[in-house]
């Protein structure tokens, strides 16, 4: 028997097996390393626009709730932030028994900001992260160390939490009352586009500029009312005070509980409730802070 020829066929079979195995490995490991998922970048962009719409909606809803609460609290407190440092009678805050200054604009801003922060801190995104389909044998190659393992960040540093943080840290950049309208501009919200495979986080982003506006009563009414009380009611007869204020403000109701006077002034969007001690002076008019 020809021993060299005898080895030819087994060697041919073995070589074939090795060549096919190498081909198999080369194709599969190359495919596993591929990161150009067609359409993924476009989808990420569309998804971030979508997320931005939801963020704007959330901020708008939070602003609406915060505004309602802050505006009514301010009116119920007669322009003060809270009744903690003021005496009150039947829930009516006695404005000349307050330690803090009368500053309805600043108090509204503080009340609104507190309310807004309590809502934005709650924000949770409903964004669904991209989950690419596993390529055949990619986990096997990862297991044997042929391709690096993809390390997933913990929830604190997940992509979703990165979307939530700019909303949770939202600040008021500008707040103003003009022409019976409240205008608020918030800090910019920068939303990073979701990285797909090899693209780096923050390589592209989308910035939104949230705003809010609402119809309000003339905010100067607080200062005018305070001024009118100081001039026409302090150390004056109740009848004189009642007559002057009634002529100046339609719908105003005063109740004399000597020496305290309770006052209710219904406006278009709120009702101002306050009380004052007509035997005690109000703080100087110069202390008024207006927008």
């Amino acid at each position: 028997m020809n021993k060299k020829a005898d080895l030819f066929m087994p060697m041919f079979v073995l070589t074939s097996f090795i060549v096919f195995a190498l081909l198999f490995y080369t194709i599969s490991s190359t495919n596993a390393k591929r990161n150009d998922i067609i359409g993924a970048s476009s989808i990420s962009l569309i998804k971030i626009y979508d997320e931005a719409e939801k963020v704007l909606f959330y901020i708008d809803e939070s602003s609406r709730l915060s505004f309602d609460s802050a505006y009514n609290t301010l009116a119920n407190n007669g322009g003060y932030y809270s009744n903690d440092d003021c005496d009150n009678i039947n829930g009516y805050l006695i404005i000349n028994h307050c330690k803090s200054d009368f500053s309805p604009y600043d108090n509204f801003k503080k009340l609104f900001s507190d309310e807004m922060n309590s809502y934005t801190k709650l924000y949770r995104s409903s964004y669904s992260e991209f989950k690419p389909e596993d390529i055949t044998l990619s986990s096997t190659f990862t297991f044997f160390g042929f391709i690096p393992e993809e390390v997933k960040p913990n929830s604190e540093f997940s992509y979703k939490s990165l979307l939530e943080k700019p909303v949770q840290n939202l600040q008021i950049s500008y707040l103003d009352f003009k022409d019976n309208k409240l205008n608020i501009i918030y800090s910019d919200v920068k939303l990073n586009v979701e990285p797909v495979r090899s693209s780096a986080l923050a390589s592209s982003y989308y910035i939104i500029h949230p705003k809010f506006s609402a119809d309000v009563d003339d905010f100067n009414i607080y200062n005018n009312l305070y001024s009118s009380i100081a001039v026409n009611c302090i150390n004056k007869e109740f009848e004189v005070c009642n007559q002057v204020l009634s002529s100046q403000y339609s719908g105003i109701k005063l109740e004399n509980l000597n020496p305290i006077v309770k006052l209710t002034l219904p406006l278009k969007y709120s009702t101002i409730n306050m009380a004052f001690d007509n035997s005690k002076p109000l703080k100087q008019l110069e202390l008024f802070t207006s927008s």
Binding site: M1, N2, A5, D6, L7, F8, M9, P10, F12, V13, S16, F17, F20, F24, I27, S28, N31, R34, D36, I37, I38, G39, A40, I43, I46, K47, D50, E53, K54, F57, Y58, E61, S62, R64, L65, S69, S118, Y119, L122, Y123, R124, S125, S126, S128, F130, K131, I135, T136
Partner: protein, 166 residues
């Protein structure tokens, strides 16, 4: 044994097993590359179900019902079951107006929940159907909790072409 002049390939002990093994190897790789399609470039085109936009739920919750929007009505009355119940016919007619794949058993479902407890659910589904185009949104409530609203299409035997029509 075959002739000795130039035709001796060692058709002895190793020839037949080698051919059998070669056939097995070739069959295996033919199956791998041609039947299973392993040699083809993998389908790395993103599938439509990887993404569903939230345009429909945003439009739905911003729809005015009287002087308020749907989301305002739900969030302002979230603890008032009777008021929420009153909204059901309006919401049902709204979601019935959303497009569905033609000639399919398909229904839009709308679920509102707070702390995983359902506040409002308008569900309609068929046996063996799947859910598509899931879209959800969280909105704040006065009591500092979150209200989750979810909209999805329940469709029986829907394929990508059917879904592309809506």
């Amino acid at each position: 044994m075959l002739g000795k002049k130039g035709a001796d390939f060692g058709m002895g002990l190793t020839m037949i097993p080698s051919i059998i093994i070669l056939i097995i190897i070739l069959t295996f790789y033919i199956f791998l590359f041609f039947v299973w399609g392993f040699g083809n470039s993998p389908d790395l085109i993103i599938k439509s179900d990887a993404y569903s936009d939230s345009s429909k739920i945003l439009v739905l919750i911003n729809t005015p019902l009287g002087s308020s929007t749907l989301s305002e009505l739900i969030s302002d009355n979230v603890d008032n079951k009777e008021e929420i119940k009153k909204l059901e016919p309006d919401i049902t007619s709204l979601i019935k107006s959303l497009p569905v794949p033609p000639n399919k058993n398909a229904f839009w479902n709308f679920i509102v929940s707070k702390n995983d407890e359902e506040i409002l659910a308008i569900r309609e589904s068929t046996l063996g159907a799947s859910d598509y185009y899931k879209q959800s949104i969280n909105i704040p409530l006065k009591d500092r909790s979150l209200l989750n609203m979810e909209l999805y299409l329940n469709c029986n035997n829907c394929n990508e072409e059917d879904l592309a029509l809506i």
